[in-house]
C-alpha cells in the first residue's frame, strides 16, 4: 500500500515514515502494561481484579530506573516490596500475602522468560513500500552486578513509558528537561521545579543507559566496529554533551542555593533542599559517565588485544535450535542416548566428587549411635485467643435499617425508595440490610405466629414486575412492601388488602 493516490497528500510516499515508525514502536512498548491490566482477572485466582495493575507496572519501571547506575541496578526483592506497599495502599482491607503475590506476579510478567524472546509487536514500515515488521523489546533485563548478585535494569524503551511524549532523541530531551528545570528555578517556581527535576533526573538515567548499552554493544562486536569513523566521534559528542550538562547543573545549583538562602518560608527552604539533592545526583551520574567515556578508548584497546585469542564472533556459532535440537529430536531413542551423555558432560559444570579420608571414615563408623527421642520434640500447647465473631452489620446500620422499616405502614411503598433513603442517611450496610429484610418479607413466616398465638406486626413484600434502577450495588425486582398485623385469632388480616381496597 502507498498513499500516493491519496487526495490528502501529493507527496509520493508518507513524508514522515520515520517518525510514524518510531511512534508506533514507542506505543508498542506500553503493550506489556496493558496486557497486565487485561490479564489480571485470570491471575491470582481472580483476586487481582480488585487492583489497578497498569499503574503498579509503571511504578515498577520507575523504581528500577531510579535505582540504576552504570554498573548497578535494582534488586528484585526491593522492588517487589515497594510494589506490595503500593498494592496495600490500593486495597488496605486485603491480606498482605495477596499484596505480595500481586507484586511478584507483576514483576514476573514484566521480566518475562527468554523463550518468549521478550515482548514483540508488529508495525508497518512505510519507508520502503509498506513492509510489516516485528519489533521485539524487553522491559527489564537481569544481569550480574559488579558487586555480585543479580540486578534488574530497565530498558531505554521502558523508561520512555514514563513519559507521555515518546518520539524522542534522548540527548536533546535531556537538554530540554534541564532547561525547563532551570527556567522554573530562575523564576522562583520551586513547586513546579520539583516535577521538572524528577523528569530531568529520569532523562539523565535514560541517557546514561543509552551510553552504557552502546559501549556494551561496541565491546561485544569489536571486530565489526569502525572505531575512528563511528565510535570515536560519538564518544567526543557524548563528552561534549556531558560537559554542557555539568555546566548547566552547576548554574542551577547556584541558583537554587540562592533561593534557599533568601527563602523567607520554611516550606520553600525544604523544597530547595530536595531539589539540590536531585541535581547533585544528576551531577554525580554525569561525572561517572564522563569517567567511563574517557577510559573507553583504553578499555577497548585492552579488550581488542584479549579478543585476538578469544573465540570468534557469534556468527560462526551453531544455532541451538537448527543445529542441535532438531537433529537430536530426529534421532532414534537408542542413538540419542550417547548424545544425551555428551550433552550432560558438556553443559553441566563439573563438581568435585566427594572424597572420604580413611581417618574420618573410621571415626564416623565408630561413632556411637545418635540417641533419638522416641516422641520427638515436646509439643507446646498453642495459646489460642477466643475469636469474637465479627457482626456482619454494625449496630448503627441495624438501628438505621430498623428505623426505616418501622416507617413502613399499611399502604405499600417501594423498596427502591427505602434503599435510597438508607443510602442517603444510613451508615454503611444499612441499605443492604433493608434489602435483605425486604427479601425475607417476600415469605413472611405467619404460620409461626399463628401457632404461637401471638399478635405482632410483620412486613410483607411482593414483586410487581418493575426493576431496581440507579442504585449502586443493587439489582433485581423492585418490590412493593407493606406492614401486616397477625392476630391471635389465627387470621392474618393483611393491611395490604385494606390498602388495595382503598
Amino acid at each position: 500500500m502507498t498513499l500516493a493516490a491519496s487526495p490528502l497528500s501529493s507527496a509520493p510516499a508518507i513524508p514522515s515514515a520515520q517518525a510514524l515508525m518510531r511512534r508506533a514502536k514507542a506505543l508498542a512498548v506500553t503493550d506489556p502494561l496493558h496486557r497486565l491490566e487485561d490479564h489480571k482477572g485470570r491471575a491470582g485466582g481472580g483476586e487481582f481484579a480488585a487492583y489497578t495493575v497498569r499503574d503498579l507496572a509503571q511504578y515498577a519501571i520507575e523504581l528500577v530506573a531510579g535505582a540504576m547506575d552504570f554498573d548497578r541496578g535494582a534488586i528484585e526483592s526491593d522492588v517487589t516490596e515497594a510494589l506490595a506497599a503500593a498494592a496495600a495502599a490500593q486495597q488496605p482491607g486485603r491480606p498482605a500475602e495477596e499484596h505480595a503475590e500481586l507484586a511478584a506476579w507483576v514483576m514476573r510478567e514484566l521480566i518475562g522468560t527468554s523463550s518468549a524472546r521478550g515482548f514483540s509487536a508488529d508495525y508497518t514500515d512505510y519507508a520502503d513500500g509498506a513492509t510489516r515488521r516485528t519489533f521485539t523489546f524487553r522491559v527489564f533485563d537481569e544481569f550480574e552486578a559488579a558487586g555480585g548478585g543479580v540486578h534488574l535494569r530497565a530498558s531505554t524503551e521502558a523508561i520512555n513509558v514514563l513519559f507521555s511524549s515518546m518520539d524522542i532523541d534522548i540527548a536533546s530531551e535531556e537538554i530540554a528537561a534541564q532547561a525547563v528545570l532551570e527556567s522554573h528555578v530562575d523564576r522562583g517556581r520551586l513547586d513546579r521545579a520539583a516535577d521538572s527535576a524528577r523528569a530531568a533526573k529520569l532523562r539523565t538515567i535514560q541517557y546514561q543507559e543509552s551510553i552504557r548499552a552502546k559501549l556494551a554493544a561496541v565491546r561485544r562486536n569489536l571486530d565489526t566496529v569502525d572505531w575512528d569513523g563511528d565510535v570515536s566521534p560519538q564518544i567526543v559528542e557524548a563528552l561534549g554533551h556531558l560537559e554542557q550538562r555539568q555546566a548547566v547543573e552547576a548554574r542551577i545549583l547556584d541558583s537554587i542555593q540562592d533561593r534557599r538562602d533568601s527563602a523567607a518560608r520554611d516550606d520553600l527552604r525544604r523544597q530547595a533542599v530536595k531539589l539540590i539533592d536531585v541535581v547533585v545526583d544528576c551531577q554525580r551520574r554525569h561525572r561517572e559517565l564522563s569517567g567511563h567515556l574517557s577510559s573507553a578508548r583504553e578499555t577497548f584497546r585492552a579488550e581488542l588485544a584479549r579478543q585476538k585469542f578469544a573465540p570468534p564472533a557469534s556468527m560462526n556459532l551453531r544455532d541451538l535450535t537448527a543445529d542441535i535440537i532438531r537433529p537430536l529430536l530426529a534421532e532414534t531413542v537408542a542413538a540419542s542416548g550417547p548424545l544425551a551423555d555428551q550433552l550432560f558432560a558438556r553443559l553441566a559444570s563439573p563438581s568435585a566428587p566427594a572424597v572420604m579420608g580413611v581417618g574420618s571414615l573410621i571415626d564416623q563408623l565408630l561413632a556411637p549411635p545418635r540417641e533419638r527421642a522416641q516422641l520427638g520434640a515436646p509439643v507446646e500447647a498453642p495459646e489460642l485467643d477466643d475469636a469474637e465473631p465479627e457482626p456482619a452489620f454494625s449496630d448503627d446500620a441495624v438501628a438505621a435499617a430498623e428505623r426505616i422499616l418501622a416507617g413502613v405502614g399499611g399502604a405499600p411503598c417501594r423498596l427502591s425508595g427505602l434503599i435510597a433513603s438508607a443510602l442517603d442517611s444510613g451508615p454503611q450496610g444499612a441499605a443492604r440490610l433493608v434489602w435483605l429484610e425486604a427479601l425475607g418479607a417476600c415469605s413472611p413466616n405467619i404460620g409461626a405466629d399463628v401457632a404461637a398465638g401471638r399478635q405482632r406486626r410483620r412486613l410483607a413484600a411482593w414483586p410487581d414486575g418493575s426493576q431496581l434502577r440507579g442504585l449502586p450495588g443493587f439489582a433485581g425486582d423492585d418490590l412493593l412492601i407493606a406492614a401486616i398485623t397477625v392476630t391471635p385469632a389465627g387470621a392474618a388480616r393483611p393491611a395490604v388488602q385494606e390498602a388495595a381496597a382503598a
Binding site: A104, R108, I111, G112, T113, S114, S115, A116, R117, D141, E142, F143, E144, A145, A146, G148, V150, A216, R220, R306, P311, P312, A313, S314, M315, N316, L317, R318, D319, L320, T321, D323, I324, I325, R326, P327, L328, L329, A330, E331, T332, V333, A334, S336, G337, L339, A340, D341, Q342, L343, F344, A345, R346, L347, A348, S349, P350, S351, A352, P353
Partner: protein, 248 residues
Amino acid sequence: MTVADDPRAAGQLIAFAMNAKLRPAQDQDYAELVRSYRERPAFAEAVRAFAGGLGLDVLQVDRAAGAVLSPRDGSPFEMHAGQFFGERGNAAKDAMRRSLHGVALAAAVACAYPRRQDLDDAERIPRVSVADIDDYVRSHAELLDAEHEGQQLDPPAGQPGQERAWRAWAGQPRDARGKDGRAKPDCTLQIIRRVLDALAAHGDMRKVADTPESGGIYQALPPLRVHARELCQGRSLWPEAAPEDEAL
C-alpha cells in the same frame, strides 16, 4: 593471600571453580585469582596445565562466571545422563529416559539462548520456565511430524529403541499426577524440572519462582552460557566424518 605462579594457587582457583555456588564477587581470594589469571599469562598457563592434568579444559575465566571448566572424555569429572535421573536397570526404559533427559537439557539451553548473539551477551541473565521449554519441544515435534508425513515412523515391534526421539517426547504425558497430587516422575514437565534442578545443583541455574502456570521459573547463570557457547563452537555432537563415509 598472595598469588604466586605456583601450583598451589592454580589448584586453589580450580577448587573455587568446583564450588558450584561460589562466584568471584562473593569471595575476595577467588576474585584475586581470577584477576591474576586474566592479567598474568604465566599463571594462566599454570592453571590450564593443572586443569589438564585433572582432565579438565578451562573454557573461560572472568568476574561474572568465575572459572568455567569442562571435563574431557574420560576425565574423572565427566558426567553421564544416568547420574542425573538414576538408572533403574531396565535397559529399554533407561534408554528412553536418557533420551528424554538429553532432549530436555538441550531444549532448556536453546530456550535460554534462542539467538546466536545471546551466547555472546555476557551481561544478561535470561529466564526460562518449565512450561515454555515443554511447549518449545512439542512445537518442534509437530513440525517434524509434518515434515515426515506419510513415512512409516512406528518402530518395529519389540524394538522401542528405534522410535524417533521427538515421537517419544510427544508420546509422553505433559503433566501427569498420582493419587496424592504429586507429579509423576516421567511426565515431561517433571523431566524438565529434574534437569533444571540438577543444573541448579551444579551452579548453572537458579530457581527463582514456582507458579502453577509456569511449572517453575529459573535463571540461566553465566557458566551455562559459557558451556552452551562451547557446545555451539567446539566439536560437533555428531562425528563429522560420518556423512562422508556414507557417501563413499
